[in-house]
């Protein structure tokens, strides 16, 4: 009898603890922030910058962990299958990756709509970059040459069906030219490729334009307006091509996460975004503040924009 009583009281104790845990205000334990790429990339560095101010705001530890592979798909598929919607497991998400992979792979293991996007916090616009010694001084030179010499121009970019690749396809369509896109495994290998003259040009991000300022020329940048830290780089729009695109980075919770938690996180990330602006802008990032409905809208809008390009691709494949 005594034993039973002890067991019951232990149960009661455990139960009361868990009730307390439910009632306590979110967050009351460490938050796991998953990055689906290797350490050292744009996503990782951003998360590292966010870590400290987030901890100050939320008053709990924020642990940045990595689960690289498959261009992000390994982490994302695992996240959608296993993460609990309690706000303690968050994952970094990227456009166009989360749009392109489910469209293009037979089974990416996750779906674009399977995330509860908390916020898109910044954007790195695509940029058309040539070596400083290149014969192409302007976008016009470039397109004129491409018209006369189909497929001769080689364009290096990061990944297949990535932001870089899709922008190249959009440029081909908009200007009526044929280029040869050569995918690379990341931004790192693109640098020697353009500096060593192995490629005609790169379609990469504003960041690389900033990083290699003295050694390259940015012919066009795919943003609405010029980027503050690349004032000499004209936009595609200025030069008559309606091309705006790049990579958005943001943060997502699992579907079904209570709205109160998502809102709280959105507010925290917004605050943090303001705090780290001065670190990020000089690197070529464009800060964005899309939360709540605006975040969903942005995803939908990009899905539509890229969807058209993908339809063209699958038509061509047939």
């Amino acid at each position: 009898m005594k034993k039973v009583l002890i067991i019951i009281s232990i149960f009661a104790l455990v139960l009361s603890f868990s009730v307390v845990a439910v009632q306590a205000e979110y967050p009351d334990k460490p938050i796991n922030y998953i990055i689906s790429f290797n350490p050292g990339g744009e996503s990782d560095i951003t998360a590292r910058l966010q870590e400290k101010p987030l901890e100050d705001l939320l008053k709990v530890p924020v642990n940045v962990t990595h689960k690289p592979g498959g261009g992000g798909a390994v982490a994302w598929s695992d996240f959608q299958r296993t993460a609990k919607p309690d706000g303690y497991t968050l994952v970094g998400v990227n456009i166009p990756h989360i749009i392109g992979q489910p469209l293009q792979r037979k089974d990416a293991g996750y779906s674009t709509d399977g995330f509860n996007i908390i916020m898109w916090f910044h954007f790195t616009p695509n940029a058309l970059i040539v070596n400083k010694d290149s014969q192409f001084k302007t976008l016009k030179d470039f397109i004129d040459f491409a018209k006369k010499n189909p497929q001769v121009i080689t364009v290096g970019g990061s990944g297949t069906y990535s932001a870089n690749h899709l922008e190249t396809l959009r440029l081909e369509k908009a200007a009526g030219i044929k280029l040869t896109y050569i995918p690379h495994t990341g931004t790192g290998p693109l640098v020697p490729a353009v500096l060593g003259g192995h490629l005609t040009c790169l379609m990469n991000y504003s960041m690389l334009g900033v990083q290699l300022k003295d050694q390259v020329r940015v012919l066009a940048i795919a943003s609405e307006e010029r980027v503050p830290f690349l004032p000499d780089a004209p936009t595609f729009k200025e030069q008559g091509y309606d091309i705006v695109g790049g990579a958005f980075r943001g943060i997502a919770a699992p579907l079904g996460t209570p709205k109160a938690i998502v809102d709280k996180l959105a507010n925290a990330f917004t605050e943090v975004n303001k705090k780290i602006t001065e670190k990020q802008e000089p690197l070529g990032f464009v800060m964005t503040y899309a939360t709540g409905d605006k975040a969903q809208e942005l995803t939908a809008q990009m899905k539509k924009a890229y969807g058209d390009v993908f339809q063209d691709i699958s038509k061509e494949k047939k």
């Binding site: 560095i45 689960k67 080689t154 050569i182 495994t185 020697p192 060593g196 990083q211």
Partner: protein, 508 residues
């Protein structure tokens, strides 16, 4: 000159010295744990460096990086498991030495060679950056393809006897490397419908599985740690200075290995994991007694450990001058530079010269710090490994392998892959297929694939795209080297036979 003086003085601050020593120590332990990589150590350190002034942050990162590459040798020597891929070849000679009861001697050799390599890398970086950077960007897709082909000829010397078995192992490695999303093209292949396989087989996971598990199975089935009995009594009488003398008595080997390390380091994306194997192979090829390699030959150990530490500072050449991260850990350092508003390029050496040179020289100091840290840490790790009975050691190391492969990307699948590969590795070892060629195939397979496909794509507009592989002079040099290296076993056999014939004629 004034700049140099100032640079040096800023490094003599006690705080900086403490940073260097603690960085090397932390790096050493990370490197010694299979599965914990230099990249991870740097990533963990990253947030702390944001709050430090740039110099201190960079000094800490450089010291950890240096220590981690060196630390890989401990696990290689003591448990036949490269702690990082940079010390694969270290295990070939270091472990047999340990088995003979010469573990401390092997650790001394590794320590001295690593320090020499580390310092050599710093000197290359200080003196030769501009020309090396220019060489570095000459490597295009075609060159990468040929570098991988050249690397595959190493299989001949890694296959412990039977070339056929070595080739089988290498092919298996290359096949493993094709699992996941294609590096070029983005299609998923051989994932068998499992989303987790999209990420492919991580090299580190394969390394842990293929090298550690067979060793554990052996320890468990034989009921004792392979090294235990012989070692302790015979360890007395090895003096540090006699080992130092030995190592310094092979200047040819040291210089060659350092140059190999430097060249591999400036090739973007290669790094220590290839350097140590190439240097080892060359040491074996030029040795007067190549047949003894694999039984505990100091030359091989010197080659592996000196060349891999050269790559630490060596890979900073393309990073600091051009912004090209030569190896994964360099990407983290690039991020730190950028966040402090430092752009790679000439500015780094002029306007921010004090900081940049401070960082470079601090890596040299870290290399020197490895000697005292390594000798003390080495003894400690050695004691732990040898004084611990096998029935504690086996489960402890097993746990470490599981934690190590899990930590890599927080994935239980990686643990499963590790166990499966390890078991396969154990079985293959029974039939004479060594793990080294498999890992080599895994490393080089994707480099070859990327180079090949990109070269063909570059030729899209031309009638014979394949000719893109044969265009540049640098490719021609690499092709010649590949042919020579591939034919070497035959050349040397022929030479020996001729020599034998002449001798027998003379005798008769």
């Amino acid at each position: 000159m004034e700049l140099f003086q100032e640079t040096f003085l800023q490094l003599l601050h006690p705080y900086i010295i403490i940073l260097i020593f603690s960085g090397v120590t932390a790096g050493l332990f990370v490197g010694a744990m299979p599965g914990l990589t230099a990249t991870m150590a740097l990533a963990v350190l990253l947030p702390f460096t944001f709050t430090m002034p740039p110099l201190e942050g960079l000094v800490a990162l450089g010291a950890v990086y240096m220590g981690a590459i060196y630390g890989g040798s401990f696990a290689a020597i003591l448990v036949n498991t490269p702690g990082t891929p940079s010390s694969i070849a270290t295990a070939f000679e270091g472990y047999p030495m340990a088995k003979e009861g010469r573990a401390i001697e092997a650790i001394y050799v590794a320590t001295i060679s690593s320090a020499i390599g580390g310092i050599a890398g710093v000197l290359f970086l200080l003196l030769l950056s501009p020309p090396l950077a220019r060489l570095s960007i000459k490597f295009g897709p075609a060159e990468f393809f040929w570098v991988a082909m050249l690397g595959l000829t190493l299989i001949a010397s890694l296959s412990e006897g039977s070339l056929l078995k070595g080739l089988l192992g290498g092919s298996l490695g290359m096949i493993l490397g094709t699992i996941g999303v294609a590096p070029i093209g983005g299609e998923t292949r051989f994932t068998f419908g499992l989303p987790v396989l999209q990420g492919g087989v991580e090299m580190i996971v394969a390394l842990i599985g293929l090298f550690v598990l067979p060793e554990l199975y052996n320890m468990a089935t034989q009921g004792k740690a392979a090294l235990q009995e012989v070692s302790i009594s015979s360890e007395r009488g090895v003096s540090f200075f006699s080992v130092l003398k030995r190592v310094l008595s092979m200047p040819g080997n040291l210089i060659r290995s350092c140059i190999i390390g430097e060249i591999v380091a400036i090739i973007p994306g290669a790094g220590g994991n290839i350097a140590n194997l190439v240097a080892y192979n060359e040491a074996k090829r030029t040795s007067r007694h190549p047949e003894k390699f694999g039984t505990g030959v100091i030359e091989g150990l010197v080659a592996s450990e000196s060349s891999n530490n050269v790559t630490v500072a060596g890979s900073m050449v393309p990073l600091l001058t051009l912004g090209i991260p030569g190896a994964p850990p360099d990407a983290v350092i690039l991020g730190v530079l950028l966040l402090h508003g430092l752009r790679p390029g000439i500015e780094l050496f002029t306007t921010s010269g004090k900081l940049t040179y401070g960082f470079i020289i601090s890596m040299g100091l870290a290399a020197i710090a490895m000697v005292p840290v390594g000798l003390m840490g080495g003894r400690l790790i050695y004691r732990v490994i040898f004084k611990t009975p096998y029935y504690f050691l086996v489960p402890t190391i097993s746990l470490a392998t599981i934690l190590g492969s899990f930590a890599l990307r927080n994935s239980i699948t990686d643990v499963l892959i590790m166990i499966i590969l390890g078991t396969i590795g154990y079985l293959l070892k029974q039939v004479g297929i060594a793990p080294a060629p498999i890992v080599l195939g895994l490393i080089l397979g994707s480099i070859a694939e990327i180079g090949f496909v990109q070269s063909l794509l570059r030729g899209t507009a031309y009638p014979y795209p394949i000719l893109k592989l044969f265009e540049n002079p640098l490719s021609h040099i690499l092709i010649a080297m590949t042919l020579f290296s591939g034919a070497w076993p035959y050349i040397s056999a022929l030479y020996k036979r001729l020599k034998g014939r002449i001798k027998s004629k003379e005798e008769s």
